[in-house]
Symmetry: C2
Subunit: 218 residues, 2 copies
């Protein structure tokens, strides 16, 4: 009975011979795929351990419970959102502070946010589904600038002031209404009452929302 086992996921002989941190990372990756397909409720601990090829209780060596695993998955999802936004704004040419480029960069941020919510609805809702009392300290030791959605939005608004497009007296705190408008459209069209709207209608609503923001900032 040496080669009779199917060894579905991992060879039984390697049970205790995994690379260090492999199980933890695997659980988060598995949870991320579950979240991508079905949102935060779909990230179920036992299913994630099954994907990694480990017994359910093994997860408890790496997370205090399901909520802590979900928190890690949420952080990963938020990271994907931040990456998409950064990529979107990087595609806009022109030097920082340029009066032409600055409004385009703000719009690109909003467009990337809405595009992510449209293309990855499960991950988008998961990014904001952080369980209570689990604020992620995952940010780490402040490496580089603030890559969070809010941080990137602030950078774009600061550039708008720098470029002279937005009056400095209107800058303070304006990120929250702007964020709200984009976020609200994302959730209304994603999981809210507008979720059944066809794609072209949805894109039009997104454009209207971005234009609405532009109108208030002008």
């Amino acid at each position: 009975m040496t080669a009779s086992r199917p060894a579905a996921q991992a060879s039984p002989a390697d049970r205790h011979r995994r690379p260090r941190g492999s199980v933890r990372d695997g659980l988060v990756a598995a949870g991320l795929e579950l979240a991508r397909a079905g949102g935060p409720d779909a990230v179920v601990l036992r299913e994630a351990t099954r994907m990694v090829g480990v017994v359910p209780n093994a997860a408890y060596r790496h997370f205090a419970g399901r909520d802590e695993l979900l928190a890690a998955v949420c952080a990963a999802a938020m990271g994907e959102l931040a990456d998409r936004m950064a990529a979107g704004v990087a595609r806009v040419p022109g030097p920082r502070g340029d009066p032409q480029a600055a409004p385009l960069r703000l719009r690109a941020i909003g467009a990337a946010y809405l595009e992510f919510a449209r293309e990855e609805p499960g991950l988008f809702v998961t990014a904001y589904a952080l369980p209570e009392q689990h604020a992620y300290t995952a940010a780490g030791p402040e490496r580089g600038p603030d890559r969070s959605p809010l941080g990137q939005l602030r950078t774009a608004l600061d550039e708008l002031v720098e470029a002279g497009v937005l009056g400095r007296q209107h800058r303070d705190g304006i990120e929250y209404p702007v964020w709200s408008a984009v976020h609200g459209m994302a959730v209304l069209a994603g999981q809210g009452p507008l979720r059944d709207a066809p794609e072209d209608v949805r894109r039009h609503l997104e454009d209207r929302t971005l234009a609405f923001i532009g109108a208030s900032l002008a």
Copy 2:
């Protein structure tokens, strides 16, 4: 053994002697209380039946399953939101189409929406937690005007045009960006990253958001 039973919830003798529709209404009411305290995830079928004093399976005589019960609870929560908004706008005096009153009524609608989200976070998120493939036909035979949040918002915006405050060429489709801004602030400050902000900060953010909307409409 006639009077020895404690008869905790309902007398055992009355097991099958309930008023017609009482169990169904009771289940929705119980679910609404669960949702008020803990959001949509807290509306668990067995607990609702326990509150009504009935065995879990009895719920299946009135709902196809947990999701259908949740859908009914969502509709009830949405009804409470609509009631609050209607009450808020009714407090603003002045005739319809009055250039003074119209903007105040729009603001009252937004303020009531945000106030409901702040005071009843569980019900607010539940109102928008309608399970997929369970669009509520609960609206019934169109009694009276559209009392839904979107319907009330449209009424207010129409009045704004009537009053000459909002240009007619800007009216079409403007309800969605406005709704988005208010809804976004509600969820960001309710369950989102801003949920730990103190009450006064939160109120300030809400005011900023309503002002932002006014700026874009002017």
